[in-house]
Symmetry: D2
């Protein structure tokens, strides 16, 4: 039984890690820390875990050494403290933004601060099983992509790798309120956020840089907060090289995702559920990817959706852990999502 | 043209007063204060007022003397500062809780602090046009009831006055998130509040005391936060004296509300809209009141609904102002609400 | 491996049965029927099951004999066809309303039609593991309670059995839109139902009869449709015999539910999650039960919540199946629910 | 007092016309027809109008001759019956799709049927006061644009007319459920539609053709149903000719909209309400238009929002009527919208 711990367990990503790890048959959740809530029972903060864990949050000085350590810590703090985190576990799985971008300049450009540990950046393997599974099997340092970034990377990489799209990609991302975390602020007030269509990043959202890095394509991304707690949906437009046919696009996705446990190709001609919708993915580790061709147009419209806290964060991190620790890749991640929901 | 001002205009009740007063043909909004946001443009805080006012919030030392002064100030502070407010206007209309309860002991019991100005309490006329219109015509001090209180008072008083109900009344109140105001806190986070059915006051909600005072009936009230920004719905159960027939109940409501501009009796046998629902009342000054009889039971179930910020607050206050200043009672309050919404 | 089938798999309760049974390690889903959608792939109707099943809905003439047969058929039809259903399986688990009420007259009274198979009614064991576990171990005919009924039965029975409450119980039930099933009608239109507080049964909701039967108490229930897809929350008021203390009430619940796998006692003094809220129960088989005492009042206010499609239907049915087939009672029902959600 | 009538008053657009016309001081609503609900009281169908009108829906054979006739009839039927409608009023204001597209081939292309009255098409003036006010003053036949089309036309035309943008415009439209009307169908079921991010038109939405026609730009539009009853938000990306500076863009909008009563330029550097959001526009006739520049990019991102039933339909139609009948343009359209909402 592998022993794992979570740093920063009182937030939403941290809570989702605790939900998945306490139900995971292959690991033992040994500790979860919270600076704010040290000593408080986990299920007092995450009421869905009532009856599932009797652990309380501990202070970091109580930490021991673990098989795997999950970091749900803020960016900036994470890169400053990474050396101490690395000393605490065989495998460190970082859910912060600090080690996602390979280029320190790009980091400084998008995050507005110089990177504090550029020499460490290249030692991290991207936490993207679909494209880095082999490296993840032996990786001791894993950096999990951002929620919208992962939705974009999984939507566009197969087409980019097959050379099927070229030129600038316009990405329209929609996200639920849990992406903002559980720190109260006017922007996150229910009365302000409920029913909102809030364009909070008309240009240059940070996840744009991750998608560009992974796909090698120039990406312009806009992010809008929509009425949902969980869920990310991405809509991307790109120009197709050569003939834009459904057959070519579908074949490119099939070739990459045919055997993937957590990516589904969803592109139907009719029905209520023709394209990916985060509505039915809450709690699940699936990323659904679909597309549409406009006959006579050189463009393809790609749509992807996931639960920002699961495949967009904690679930994806657990999938990486399973791969690294030699556990069945699906273990602890089988929940299918709900319909209706 | 009457000159009016609002103390505490940056909150939700304050903002609603500004929405109604800037559109009111009979008054001029001379000033609105905000301690937090003094100097900031009103439409920067309340974006729905873009193009409707160019005023900025002022500090209180900028205040002059007005025909009517609306107080959207916190309870406790309001009773402590009432003397200075009274000096600022011919008519003071208080939307805080401090002068609603005639008995200082009851206030202390429900609010947990002794009343700071008990001698002033009885000088306030209840801001309930349906039952105090005559006194309101000459009242210089008006205390507007709480949002759930008003829904309960309008639902139960006609039956109580007619002696149609007796014994304890069980009230189940449901309210939207705007009732909590715009101060950010974990309880009001969208991710926590969205879709919630939060029983935040299982017993002894403060508005219970107002309903009991107005109706003379023993009331037990439970309050639940539901998924809505605006809106209050009350469901009350009471025992009927004598025969519980639809005819007797309807007659009692008709007798009181037949000519009321802002109370509608809504009790149909079929259709989607048989009973009051706050869903169609957003922005309107209506309180809808309905009821149902259980054949063979001595009980009546009464249902009422209103917009907590309008008939449950700012709109009701403007209606009182219209009465007091000799303006048409409906003026500035004609919006019907939306369907669908 | 037990072979099970579902009659009426295209509805919401049917779909939830399919979600749980396809993920259940102890059973094989052998068939699911749909009159409307025979021949259509299950995951085309329930998109959350994409990749989890390749089955298509079959016509009933394709049915064989099964270890357990789940009926998600309409009431009336179910009682008329029960004999043929009984011939198809060793154990029949009925999720319709037809065999819930022991007294045919009560059925006729609440459902407006005479019961078609009164002689069969008493051969069904109530699908309420918390109170009928022993009988369920050998029951060949199981009738699962209604969603709001189960929330009420689990909330009130421990107090009734302990003789802690007496007299009429006033129940205020709130329910999400999935309870109405997936048959389109004006009442279920998103634009009409969204944000609604629709009192659709001010008196005499059918589930009232089930709660009265199970608790032996006179019950008056009101049902309101609230803004949610899943979820039922019940609020009940009753008079306490003798002294109404938190200690006595809590002890009564502890005595009954201490070892129950799917009932949690939720009654805290503070925090966001003091009382049961269906918001965090979507997809889980938990029923949370809480209560509040009003000091100096003889009343107790009881609050319970569950997911109407899980503990209020399909999940509860699977729990009954586990008991009857000798499988671990929790099997296939471990999902904890999500926070935030 | 002008006498007006509405054909097809039982739908959502029809109901919104009735809400605006019954509150309009300059006109008398003489009749409203409904084939489905002839004889039924208007306020039984549109409960927000309780107390505002005692009219019942009439059959069309009861119609007389009016100063203005509003058509809220289905497309196809409208073009087939237009001659009889034209005979019934001095001014016909059509809210259907049939006379929006100047080119019959384009109509056939997007609507899949040949146009039944091509000779009439060019006799209609576009119901877009911002760009056709002069012609509208004398127009006897007015065709009001589609909800998403109007949001796109108002967002893009000033930039197109100023020659500030060139090449293909990518439009991402989000819409609430009321846009689908009140005909019940599985797609509009609350349980299916609630919380959905449904890409129902990945390419070639019909309103795309209207925007292209009005702006002269090639437009590619995608439409997504989002969680809202009312509201449309459009996000458009275009390449800027010459230098893409905020100053040039803002100047182009100011030049066109400076004196427009119902278009507001909303583009702020900070705050919760930096860009247009339909959330605060429900019930109002405003279209808010904003934009963002990505420094160093040749692109501009334009955002617009409106209430699909008001500025996207009924309100815009009433504004056209005011212009045509010589009434004050703002009359009956002053509602500001709500915050919070």
């Amino acid at each position: 039984m592998k022993r794992v711990a979570v740093i920063g367990g009182s937030g939403y990503i941290g809570g989702e890690l605790l939900r998945l790890l306490t139900a995971h048959p292959g690991v033992e959740l040994a500790a979860a820390t919270s600076r704010r809530l040290g000593g408080r029972l986990i299920d007092g903060v995450h009421p869905n875990l009532r009856g599932r864990t009797s652990l309380a949050f501990v202070d970091e000085d109580k930490l021991e050494h673990y098989d795997a350590l999950f970091l749900a810590t803020p960016h900036r703090e994470t890169m400053l403290r990474m050396p101490e985190f690395l000393a605490r576990a065989e495998v460190v799985i970082d859910l912060s933004a600090d080690f996602r971008l390979g280029c320190a300049d790009t980091y400084a450009d998008y995050y507005g601060v110089p990177h504090a540990a550029p020499e460490l950046v290249e030692t991290f393997v991207p936490g993207i099983p679909e494209f880095h599974r082999t490296r993840l099997r032996t990786a001791d340092r894993i950096s999990v992509p951002g929620c919208m970034a992962n939705a974009g990377i999984l939507a566009l990489t197969p087409l980019a790798q097959a050379g099927l799209i070229e030129g600038e990609v316009a990405v329209d991302a929609r996200t639920g309120s849990s992406g903002a975390g559980n720190t109260a602020g006017p922007a996150n007030l229910h009365a302000e956020r409920s029913g909102a269509l809030r364009v909070f990043a008309p240009t240059r959202h940070r996840h744009e840089a991750e998608i560009a890095q992974a796909t090698g394509l120039p990406v312009r991304m806009t992010a809008t907060g929509v009425e949902a707690v969980r869920g990310v949906q991405l809509l991307a437009r790109a120009n197709v090289t050569g003939e834009a046919t459904e057959r070519r696009i579908r074949a490119a996705y099939r070739a990459v995702y045919r055997d993937e446990p957590f990516v589904r190709i969803v592109a139907h001609r009719k029905g209520l559920h023709r394209f990916p919708d985060a509505k039915i993915l809450s709690g699940s580790n699936f990323c659904d990817v679909g597309f549409a061709i406009d006959p006579g147009s050189p463009q393809v419209t790609v749509i992807s959706a996931l639960d920002n806290l699961v495949k967009g964060g904690a679930g994806n991190a657990v999938q990486c852990m399973n791969i690294r620790l030699g556990l069945p890749e699906r273990e602890g991640l089988e929940f299918t999502g709900l319909h209706p929901n």
